[in-house]
Every structure is written in structure tokens, then in C-alpha cells.
């Protein structure tokens, strides 16, 4: 039995509004009604509702628009949509957007009451879970602040604060202390450097012997002061999740990665200007972040919406008092529109590269495709693609110069980035090498990214950041290679009429 709830009914037919109000009032709920989407959203902005029941087809803002905005402003609010007969298509769309249920017109009082009761019950369950989660990670808070004020706040966090800065060839992470305010860009695109450089050094000492591990730590090699990396885009945040799975999961945790990860505050930000090589949406990602960050920054006309995504971030947001405003529904609406626009830009740019089958399936079943050979011919084996890839994590352990070590009687094990694109990467001492040819190495990179990494770690090894496309000397475009592998793509590629 669900206790009394606040319900908003939106329908352009007055009789529907009235009957719904009567049925639900009898069940003990407090019901408000609106005759169009605009009026409904106005009411929604003014008071709290647990459940919104909205007709899908209305003049002006329709049910889908209402649903989107309600979910954006208050994800916990349950939404039931009312559909006309045989418009199941839009009902399914609504369910995908987060609607709790749909009911078809005409409906009986019982059908409405049951749907409402179920939706409210599920909402209550979710709220309980969310409450528990909030207690764990702290209330998810957001504020609106000015750019300068926000910069001051993050600069107060630690010694190494990196902000996204405009440079000649794109954005670079730059120490905040050296960066004039007008050069800090919160939107734009992911920086040139992959985020991994901060957590997984291109070259570092990981052991020294005969001396022990504790000496390495006390040698000050692990940054103990907090570090802030700001301006992290969705593709790179997703890549960080992939690296976390490699370095922090399993029987062995990489202590160097963990130390830096624990000491780093991640400030994500929305993309505003995706580049020609971007393909996050093809990897199932959006050009903005919803989780996995400490703070997220969204640019709106009046300033920055700063949203907390972790306990650390939440505490920081709470300290923002001066110059901070409450985030109003209009700000969220603006953010929503901007995000939608950017997503649309990425999607439009990729219209010709949309694969007909999921990448995983394409790669899995195309080991013998001529596409590999033909693209591998353009590969010069420079490994720039793996070096700049935000998820590539391969490395090699080796020793420092032998003579010096022998004289000093002190040896060091060095970890250096390696690449599966180098000929000797998989070679064993006996001489066997499963990837002797460029084709085999080229194919390996794709099978790892789209099949094997996913099977081993649960996420793709590619996040669509597009850096490998930007740096390839052979002008190989991963998206194109994948497109050519499948369906009409392959047919077109082979000169066959589809």
C-alpha cells in the first residue's frame, strides 16, 4: 500500500483530467491538473510531484517533451504516459526515456489506479535505494557559480591543479597557476593528451632492488598532495573507468596507479564543440558525463553549473557559498538543450559511418576480411595510435643501463609504455611470434578493443575519442575500417551493389 502522493495529470481533454483526478483522489492522493504541457511544466516547477501522468499527444509541448523535462529536473519522479490507440511506437520511446508505464485510451478506473499504484511503489523502492546511496556518497548537489569563482575553489584543493587551456593545436591540460583566465575553456572538446598520462606515466621506476618497496614510497615518488584534473570529457572519463578495471581490479592492484587515483579529484565538463574525429555516440556514450566524476561542470549563459558526483565533490560544493546561486529549472533546461545540440552534432557527423551491426559482432566475424589487409598496408607501425589512446595500457618492464647499475650495486625495474603494434611485442624467447605481420598486429588492435577487452573487463577498449584518427600517419580512420567491415558497408566497399 502506497501512502498519499502528489500527482500531476496533464491532458488536453478536460474530461480526462477530471476523471483521473477523481479516481486518484479516491485512492487518497493529492491531484493537480493541467490542460497542456507548458502549464503542466510550470506547475511542476513550482511544487513537488511524486507522479506525473501525461497524455502523449498534445498541442505544443507533447508528452515526450514533458517526460524529458520532468526526468531532467527530478529523475525520481515517476511518469506514466497516456497513449491513443495503436501508438505503441511512441509508448516504447517513452519507456526508453524513463517512463514508468503507459496506459492506452480508453482506460478503466481500475487500470489507472493499478498503474499509478505500481509506479508509486516502484518509485518508493528506488527512493529507498537512492537514499541509501546518498548516505554513502553524500547528497548529489549542484550550484551555479561564476568561472573565476569556480577556478578559485579548485585551485584551493591542492598543489597540482590542471585546467583545460586553449593552445595552438587544441586544448591542453595546463597548470592553473600558469593559465590566464581567458584561456581556460570549459566546453570545447577533449584535450589533446589522453587522461592516462596523469595516472600511468609513460616511464617510471616501479621497483628497486636489493632495496625494498617501502623505500620507494618514502622516496617521495607518490604524490601525496591532492591533484585536480579539470576539463575531463566523457570519452576520457570512460577510458579512466577502463583503466581502473585493469589496474585496480583482480588479485594484484597497481600501487602506483592507485596512489595517484586516490589523490586526484576529477572535474568533468560537457563537450560543446566536438571534432571531426569524434565518435562517442557510436560507442554508446554521450558528449557529457553523468557519473564517475567528483565534480561536473556545464557551461550555461549565466555561469557554470557545478554538480557533485562523489562524496569528495559533494563536500567541495558545500563549501561554495560566495557568489553561488541555486540551480534553477531554467538553467537545467538550458543545459539540457545544449547537451542535446552537441549530441546531435556528433550524430550528424557520423551519419555515413553508422555500422549496421554492433562493432563487437562485426569484428568477431570478420577475421578474414580483406579490409584488414588493405588498411594494414597503410600502417607504418609507428604505434602513435596506441600511445595516444586513452585506454591502451600495455607496458614493458626492463632494467636501467647495466653498467651504472653494476657499479652502484643498485638495480631498478622501469615500466615503459609498450605497444602491440611493435613487431616484437608478443614474441617469445624461442622465437615464436603470433603476430609477425602488420596485418596480424593491426587486426589484434581491433579484436582487443572491440571484443577481447570487453570480454575480459566488461567495457569496450575504445571510447570514440578519435585521437588515433587524428594522429595516424597512414590516415587510417578506425570508424571507417569498422564501417567497411559490415553489411552494406562491406558491399559498398567491395563494389557490390547492395
Amino acid at each position: 500500500m502506497v501512502a498519499e502522493a502528489n500527482v500531476l495529470v496533464i491532458d488536453d481533454e478536460e474530461t480526462v483530467c477530471r476523471s483521473c483526478a477523481r479516481i486518484l483522489s479516491e485512492k487518497g492522493h493529492k491531484v493537480a491538473t493541467a490542460l497542456n504541457g507548458e502549464e503542466g511544466l510550470r506547475q511542476f516547477g513550482e511544487s513537488h510531484f511524486d507522479l506525473v501522468i501525461s497524455d502523449l499527444k498534445m498541442p505544443g509541448t507533447g508528452g515526450i517533451g514533458v517526460l524529458r523535462q520532468v526526468k531532467e529536473r527530478s529523475p525520481q519522479t515517476a511518469v506514466i504516459v497516456i497513449t491513443g490507440y495503436s501508438s505503441v511506437g511512441s509508448a516504447i520511446e517513452a519507456m526508453k526515456l524513463g517512463a514508468a508505464d503507459y496506459i492506452e485510451k480508453p482506460f478503466t478506473p481500475d487500470e489507472l489506479a493499478t498503474a499509478a499504484a505500481l509506479a508509486l511503489e516502484r518509485r518508493a523502492e528506488r527512493a529507498a535505494v537512492a537514499l541509501e546511496r546518498r548516505e554513502l556518497i553524500g547528497e548529489k548537489t549542484s550550484v551555479l557559480v561564476g568561472r573565476a569563482a569556480f577556478r578559485e575553489i579548485i585551485e584551493g584543493v591542492g598543489r597540482d591543479v590542471y585546467v583545460p587551456r586553449r593552445r595552438e593545436k587544441g586544448l591542453r591540460y595546463s597548470l592553473a597557476g600558469q593559465c590566464p583566465e581567458e584561456e581556460v575553456l570549459w566546453g570545447e572538446i577533449r584535450p589533446v593528451d589522453p587522461l592516462k598520462v596523469f595516472f600511468f606515466d609513460p616511464r617510471r621506476r616501479v621497483a628497486a632492488y636489493p632495496s625494498a618497496w617501502s623505500e620507494i614510497v618514502s622516496g617521495g615518488e607518490t604524490p601525496e598532495h591532492a591533484r585536480v584534473i579539470a576539463g575531463v570529457k566523457r570519452c576520457d572519463l570512460q577510458a579512466l573507468d577502463a583503466l581502473d578495471r585493469v589496474f585496480l581490479e583482480g588479485d594484484f592492484i597497481d600501487p602506483f596507479y592507485k596512489a595517484v587515483r586516490d589523490n586526484t579529484l576529477i572535474v568533468a565538463s560537457d563537450c560543446s564543440n566536438p571534432g571531426p574525429s569524434c565518435s562517442c555516440v557510436l560507442m554508446g556514450l554521450s558528449p557529457f558525463c553523468e557519473e564517475g566524476f567528483d565534480l561536473n561542470v556545464s557551461e550555461v549563459a549565466e555561469g557554470l553549473i557545478v554538480e557533485a558526483g562523489s562524496e569528495r565533490g559533494g563536500k567541495l560544493v558545500e563549501t561554495i557559498v560566495e557568489g553561488a546561486q541555486q540551480v534553477a529549472p531554467s538553467h537545467l533546461e538550458e543545459r539540457h538543450e545544449r547537451r542535446d545540440q552537441v549530441q546531435e552534432i556528433v550524430r550528424t557527423g557520423l551519419a555515413d559511418l553508422q555500422p549496421e551491426e554492433p562493432y563487437e559482432e562485426l569484428v568477431k566475424h570478420a577475421a578474414d576480411s580483406p579490409v584488414w589487409e588493405e588498411n594494414a598496408e597503410r600502417c607504418v607501425g609507428c604505434a602513435a595510435c596506441t600511445q595516444i589512446c586513452p585506454t591502451c595500457h600495455c607496458f614493458y618492464l626492463h632494467e636501467q643501463a647495466q653498467e651504472k647499475a653494476r657499479v652502484e650495486g643498485r638495480y631498478e625495474i622501469i615500466r615503459t609504455w609498450d605497444s602491440c603494434q611493435y613487431p616484437a611485442f608478443a614474441r617469445v624467447a624461442g622465437g615464436a611470434n603470433p603476430r609477425k605481420s602488420v596485418r596480424e598486429r593491426f587486426l589484434h588492435r581491433y579484436t582487443d578493443k572491440f571484443v577481447d577487452f570487453k570480454e575480459a573487463y566488461g567495457v569496450f577498449g575504445c571510447t570514440g575519442c578519435g585521437r588515433c584518427v587524428d594522429v595516424c600517419m597512414g590516415k587510417i580512420d578506425m570508424r571507417e575500417v569498422l564501417y567497411k567491415l559490415g553489411g552494406t558497408g562491406a558491399a559498398r566497399y567491395c563494389g557490390v551493389k547492395a
Binding site: 616501479v206 621497483a207 583482480g250 638495480y411 617469445v428 624461442g430 615464436a432
Partner: protein
């Protein structure tokens, strides 16, 4: 298993107590690690020659002995050449153990067919010792081994004379690719020792270790004898660098050989593209 929070890249010192010349290019190093290293048979360690770097080896000694560890190494590259230069009394670095060894718990009550070639006998010696330690738990051991020539037979005296006499339930079938005047035994590839086997395949497991080509044809032969892919265990040789599933060198499809192996059932890897390369 709880995560190991210490530095997995840090080696400990191990004193070289003895060096045994097994064949012209294979030596066994008897090591005494600074702290005892407990391993399961079939797991591997990373051995460091100071100044030369690391390479992975599976101990060839019994897992029952913790203070000492034998590592049998063929001279194949720079690191192993340097290792062959190490004298008794000197020290090397050691990390591990890593990976998953032979699931000998699953071998209980079965006839165990061991198929080895060349220096692949090293991990199999460790397995053999582990099995012999509780011989009562297994039905029988049939040990097939092949070397290129009689002088390439590793642990010659032991495998030719001592081990076959240990128990009536232990049978050895030896061969060399090319005999000499002193050789009175079989001549032929190791797969020929699998002809006319008197094992009951249904209640048997097979363990194969050797050079890639021998592993491939050994496995194919076992399949033709009726062994199911899940009854065949292979020790995969890959270029393991980190040993902890992170560096990517030993990737075999969705597996990292250092983490998910080095021992695999053939069933696990039969569809991987790079199994035999």
C-alpha cells in the same frame, strides 16, 4: 583471493645455491629465496638477473619444498644467456608466484597422461613430484617424453633410471628424434609414444608441455585418441612481462596467460586465434 596490496613489481633476493648442467644448453638453478615462496605446481615466477631484466619460468621443483626452488632454463636469448653465467653464491631477483597452476585436485582417481618435449619437462617435473607426493590419490601416471637427441634429455639419470622405479603405477615412454650409438630406446617424435597407449581415456587427463609445434601435434593426437578438449591441459608459453595481467604482452584472446593461465584446458583456448603461434 584477497588483493595483494604490496608492490607486485618488487622482486625479492634469491641466493643461487647450486647450478646443474642438464644438457649442453639447459641448466637447473637451485635457489634459496630470502623468504620461502609457496607455489602451486604449474604456477610461474619472474626471475631477474641483476642488470639484465626479467623472464618468466615455471619452477621445476616440488611445491612441497618451500625454502628451496629449482628453475630449469634453456639458453635462448639475452636474459637466459646472462642467467647461465650466474655462479653459485651469487643472487638473482624473484617475483611471484603468478597465475593458475595444474588443477591437481581434479586429477584425483584418474590416470594421468603426461606428454613432454625438450625443456618442457621442467614444469612437468614439478607436477610429477606433486603427484608422486600423494601417489595413492591417483590411479596411474603414464609419462611420455621426447627429446631431440639422447644428450638433450633433461634430468637424464632421474627420468631414465630413478623415476620409472618409484612405483609400479608409474610408466615411462621415452623417445628421441635422432638416436646415437648409446641409445637403445625408441626413435621418433614424441607423438609416437602415444601410439598403442593402454590408458582408459574416459577416466584420464592429459597434460602437455613442450615447444609450440609439439604442443599442437600432441594435442591433435590426443584428440584423435578420444580425449575431450576439457581433458587436455596445456602450459602456454607467452611473453609474460608483468605477471599480473596488466601489461598486455601475453594476451591470448580474452585471456591473459599470466593471470588466467599459464595452464589452460584445451577447451578454454581451442577457439583463440593465436593458440598455436
Amino acid at each position: 583471493m584477497t588483493p595483494n596490496l604490496t608492490n607486485p613489481y618488487q622482486p625479492i633476493r634469491a641466493q643461487v645455491e647450486k647450478v646443474i648442467q642438464e644438457t649442453p644448453n639447459i641448466r637447473t638453478f637451485v635457489l634459496r629465496p630470502r623468504t620461502p615462496v609457496v607455489f602451486q605446481t604449474g604456477q610461474f615466477i619472474e626471475l631477474t638477473v641483476p642488470g639484465f631484466g626479467e623472464a618468466p619460468f615455471t619452477p621445476s621443483s616440488s611445491p612441497e619444498i618451500e625454502e628451496q626452488m629449482d628453475v630449469t632454463v634453456m639458453k635462448a636469448g639475452k636474459m637466459t644467456a646472462a642467467l647461465h653465467g650466474v655462479q653459485p653464491g651469487e643472487w638473482v631477483g624473484l617475483r611471484g608466484p603468478f597465475g593458475l597452476g595444474y588443477p591437481i585436485g581434479d586429477f584425483v582417481g584418474k590416470e594421468i597422461l603426461i606428454v613432454g618435449g625438450g625443456v618442457g619437462l621442467a614444469p612437468l617435473r614439478s607436477l610429477f613430484f606433486a603427484l608422486v607426493h600423494r601417489l595413492d590419490m591417483y590411479e596411474r601416471i603414464v609419462f611420455c617424453y621426447g627429446a631431440r637427441t639422447p644428450s638433450d634429455i633433461v634430468y637424464g639419470k632421474a627420468i631414465l633410471e630413478e623415476w620409472p622405479k618409484l612405483d609400479s603405477r608409474i610408466v615411462f615412454r621415452m623417445t628421441v628424434d635422432k638416436g646415437d650409438d648409446s641409445w637403445k630406446g625408441n626413435v621418433g617424435l614424441v607423438t609416437t609414444t602415444l601410439d598403442n597407449l593402454d590408458v582408459s581415456v574416459a577416466n584420464s587427463v592429459a597434460v602437455v608441455c613442450g615447444p609450440p609445434i609439439m604442443m599442437k601435434f600432441g594435442t591433435l593426437k590426443l584428440l584423435s585418441l578420444g580425449y575431450q578438449p576439457e581433458q587436455i591441459y596445456l602450459s602456454m608459453e607467452k611473453n609474460m612481462s608483468c605477471g599480473i595481467g596488466k601489461c598486455g604482452h601475453c594476451q591470448l584472446g580474452k585471456y591473459y596467460v599470466c593471470r588466467d593461465g599459464p595452464v589452460f584446458s584445451y577447451d578454454q583456448i581451442k577457439d583463440a586465434r593465436e593458440t598455436w603461434d
